[in-house]
Amino acid sequence: MTELSINGVKKTHDGDPAMPLLWFIRDEVGLTGTKFGCGVAQCGACTVHLDGNPIRSCVTPVAAAAGKNITTIEAAVGDKVGAAVQASWRKLDVVQCGYCQSGQMMSAVALLAKNKAPTDEDIDAAMSGNVCRCATYVRIRAAIHDASKALA
């Protein structure tokens, strides 16, 4: 039995403790904003926060998240930084297909939570683990700068 806290709600998992957190979040808890893209931490679509740090939930065993605070897109947009990121994403119409965008936003929120005025180089470093096949990168960059201004 593994105890987890997802978006502030206690959950228990009594299956395979090696199951990646992604599948617990999606299939068991039913929070489907976090996406499956590659299964091997190469695309970032599954990005969630573990105690505030962005992690790839597709390669993080449920057991490794025991006792830690897990935040997904559904709750991340509720705090100040998350709301600013969401507002900028909407203002600049960043999304196209949208499938990767939860992961993009989770990486962006984690960046802005630690670095209120990221440079382009900071953005490259924080965001290059997140693939967008629609290549919305121009707007992702602009939206992070926009959210940064809004938070200043």
């Binding site: 299939d27 996406k35 999304v95 949208g98 290059s128 693939v131 990168y137």
Partner: protein, 758 residues
């Protein structure tokens, strides 16, 4: 017009935008039943209501459904029914803009809903069935959606005139408010939803569409995407997110080679995984799906664990067994021989006998995977006499028919719930409905074994990347000659590759006289005024499944054409833009985008120097899907050969710009998509098995590699054309030409990979 003739280019260039778009009216009477008897005076919406019976809720009143494309609720909601798949290209927003413009709705009150499968109402006149593809949505639907909005507006006005007892001509509508100025009356759409439904549907002839000068939404940047909210809070629903009561997840082991069969299956270990419910064999549909074994489980992880525990011996005796080196050798050998003629002008052979200068080049294009972020999947809920499919797919009614055929059902026994697609780029427009057929066959096989639960079939990334339906690999062999004045004397292109249409239901519509036009589009029909041109095509018959991939044949033809044109310009010692202008003198829209891109990019002015780097600028112009795009790329190459694409200036002419910001986004995305392909992408084969499996060996462009992009739209009153694909073809040759300008090297084998450091 036949199926897919727009994609194939079989329609003549002059008639593609003149498709009559009849206004389709569904029966309006059925939904009115049961909504009578409500007290007069009840009102809804923002205007104050004095009736004592106002407690009746808006939800109790049937919505106003003026036609198949709109639903106006008593709660003042306007729902646009979208017949096209939203896969990122912004079609929901475009359709809503068109309808809301003529309806004079407030943008905020408009939402969009996907249409069900019903070709009688939702056919794409440019494709034939109900489907999304070939960048046709705005071209097909712009009149239809405007007519739908205008018709609904007329009925709302008529209802208001009747109740207010004023002439309809004195009523105005603006931003969702119906007004009669003289009597100072105003109302929301919701207030007249019920009575508007009782008005006569106006005839198409009686409807006058707006003069473009009166547009408030079309061409505006104040129409943000309708799918933005759900895609930024985790609520947008993709196939991957469907969870039906009791649903099982299926993960499959597929034959690693195309044409392989199952010899033996040992599922002991798979069945021993806790949570595995059953193991189901799914036989191949020859030429459509691969042989597979599916593991059904309570969740995805368990299903995958079960799948990985299967021990399968494959029979590869009839499987495709070539390797990429063999393929390249065969293609190049064919390219050296004359082939069936796909297009000819003048006498290229004679003109190429003794030109003043002659250039010969062979270009190699690899197979490519679409690699959309959402791997392929499909949810099937199969009952004894009906089947419900949940999916995001481009060829709705073709897929419905294919699923019905698998099940022995009539198409109407199969319903499709259209969801967002997490990218597609053509993959979810399967010419043979392959993944729908596989999911349906799986559900049928499972049901035969007593499994009655709905099933979500999930392909892993590796399944998706190795599952075929690739952009076909191609070789182009070009011979081109200049006369003494530096004009093109003759041009011969010989193309070698597989046909998308061959063996698919599209074959009779797409292959004419042995030529699949989608293999040669963009070259045999080039707008360059080349007097002596011959294009030949060798169609290779391999059992590798191939499919359209964002911009189809233009993905390779634009590269070969536009880099060779650049070579010829240099050989003629002419400026590449001036050289093109001469050849395109009769093509005003090409000239328009060329001039705009040249001006905005600062063409002709020296690039800023960067220490340790060589810099270059290159241009390409290409027409696809009746949209014209020119792109100027600026690149830097360091001493070790590392290439950076610094800036891209894009000029696009897509006729009337319905949503300028969506057009910009599609150009940005199309450029990024094309850059991934030319710089990095290759699907290769090792004795028939696909080598690449995930983003480690099939890498994607990342944010740090994305250039600065500027997009400029040519103002135009021409009929609108698509933007989902046309941004992609010019970027490859623009970058290749910039590389030549920087370091003098021509890259003719894609992807670039590390060729610049060699």
């Amino acid at each position: 017009m036949g199926i897919l003739n727009r994609i194939t280019g079989q329609a003549s260039k002059s008639d593609v935008n003149t498709t009559a778009a009849p206004l389709i009216n569904v029966s309006r009477r059925g939904f009115l039943q049961g909504s009578g008897g409500l007290a007069i005076g009840i009102c809804f919406g923002p205007v104050a209501c004095t009736s004592e019976k106002a407690a009746v809720s808006a939800a109790d009143i049937a919505p106003f459904v003026p036609n198949a494309f709109l639903r106006i609720g008593a709660d003042n909601s306007v729902t646009v029914i979208a017949k096209f798949l939203e896969m990122g290209q912004g079609t929901f927003t475009g359709l809503a803009t068109l309808a809301a413009e003529e309806l004079d709705a407030d943008w905020a009150q408009v939402s969009v809903e996907a249409a069900p499968a019903d070709a009688s109402k939702y056919a794409n006149a440019m494709l034939g069935g109900q489907g999304t593809g070939g960048s046709t949505a705005m071209a097909d639907a712009h009149v239809q959606m405007r007519m739908a909005g205008a018709s609904a507006r007329a009925m709302l006005v008529s209802a208001a005139a009747e109740q207010w007892k004023v002439p309809a001509a004195e009523i105005t509508v603006s931003k969702g408010t119906i007004r009669h100025a003289a009597s100072r009356k105003e109302a929301s759409f919701g207030q007249f939803a019920e009575s508007a439904a009782k008005q006569t549907v106006p005839t198409a002839e009686s409807i006058k569409l707006k003069d473009p000068k009166d547009f408030t939404l079309i061409g505006s940047t104040q129409t943000p995407r309708k799918d933005s909210a759900g895609k930024t809070d985790g609520t947008a629903m993709f196939t991957q997110d469907v969870k039906l009561p009791g649903m099982l997840v299926a993960v499959l082991a597929h034959s690693p080679k195309f044409g392989g069969a199952i010899k033996t299956v040992d599922d002991t270990a798979a069945r021993a995984v806790a949570g595995v419910i059953d193991v189901v064999r799914v036989d191949a549909v020859p030429g459509v799906t691969r042989a597979a074994v599916a593991v059904l489980a309570k969740n995805t992880w368990v299903a995958k664990q079960g799948r990985d525990a299967l021990v399968i011996e494959w029979d590869d005796s009839a499987a495709f067994a070539k390797s990429s080196v063999d393929i390249a050798k065969e293609f190049k050998a064919l390219a050296a021989k004359p082939g069936p003629v796909a297009g000819t002008r003048g006498d290229a052979a004679a003109a190429l006998k003794k030109p003043a200068k002659k250039i010969e080049a062979v270009y190699e294009f690899p197979y490519l995977a679409h690699a959309a972020m959402e791997p392929l999947n499909c949810v099937v809920d199969l009952k004894a006499d009906r089947c419900e499919i949940w999916n995001g797919e481009q060829f709705t009614t073709a897929d419905q028919a294919s699923a019905a055929a698998v099940l022995g059902f009539k198409p109407e026994q199969v319903t499709i719930k259209q969801l967002y697609a997490g990218g597609s780029f053509g993959r979810r427009a399967s010419s043979k409905s392959d993944f729908i057929v596989e999911a349906t066959a799986l559900a049928k096989a499972a049901r035969a074994k007593g499994v009655e639960a709905p099933i979500k079939m999930i392909w892993t990334r590796e399944d998706d990347m190795r599952g075929g339906y690739y952009r076909a690999g191609f070789v182009h062999a070009i011979k081109a000659g200049l006369d003494g004045d530096g004009n093109i004397a003759g041009w011969q292109s010989r193309l070698v590759g597989q046909s998308i249409a061959k063996g698919s239901p599209m074959e009779p519509f797409m292959i004419h006289n042995g030529i699949d036009h989608s293999s040669v589009e963009g070259t045999s029909d080039t707008r360059y005024d080349i007097a002596n041109l011959q294009v030949e095509l060798h169609t290779v018959e391999y059992p590798l499944p191939v499919l359209w991939w964002r911009s189809v044949g233009h993905t390779h033809t634009a590269y070969a054409m536009e880099t060779m044109i650049d070579e010829l310009a240099h050989a003629a010692a002419k400026d590449p833009i001036e050289f093109r202008k001469t050849l395109l003198a009769k093509q005003p829209r090409h000239l328009g985008v060329l001039a705009l891109a040249a001006e905005k990019s600062g063409w002709g002015k020296p690039l800023a120097e960067v220490a340790g780097k060589k810099r270059g600028r290159g241009i390409a112009v290409h027409e696809s899907f009746n949209t014209f795009v020119a792109e100027v790329a600026e690149v830097s190459i360091d001493e070790e050969g590392l290439l950076t694409v610094d800036r891209v200036v894009c000029a696009v002419d897509c006729g009337l710009a319905i949503n300028p910001d969506v057009i910009k986004a599609q150009m940005e995305g199309g450029i990024g998509f094309g850059l991934t392909a030319i710089l990095k992408s290759e699907i290769s084969f090792d004795k028939g098995a696909v080598v690449q499996g995930n983003f480690g060996d099939y890498p994607m462009l990342r944010i740090n590699e994305m250039p600065k992009i500027e997009v400029y739209i040519v103002p135009s009153a021409e009929k609108p054309t698509g933007v989902g694909e046309p941004g992609t073809p010019p970027i490859g040759p623009a970058v290749a030409n910039a590389v030549f300008a920087a370091v003098g090297k021509r890259i003719r084998k894609l992807p670039f990979g590390d060729q610049l450091s060699a």
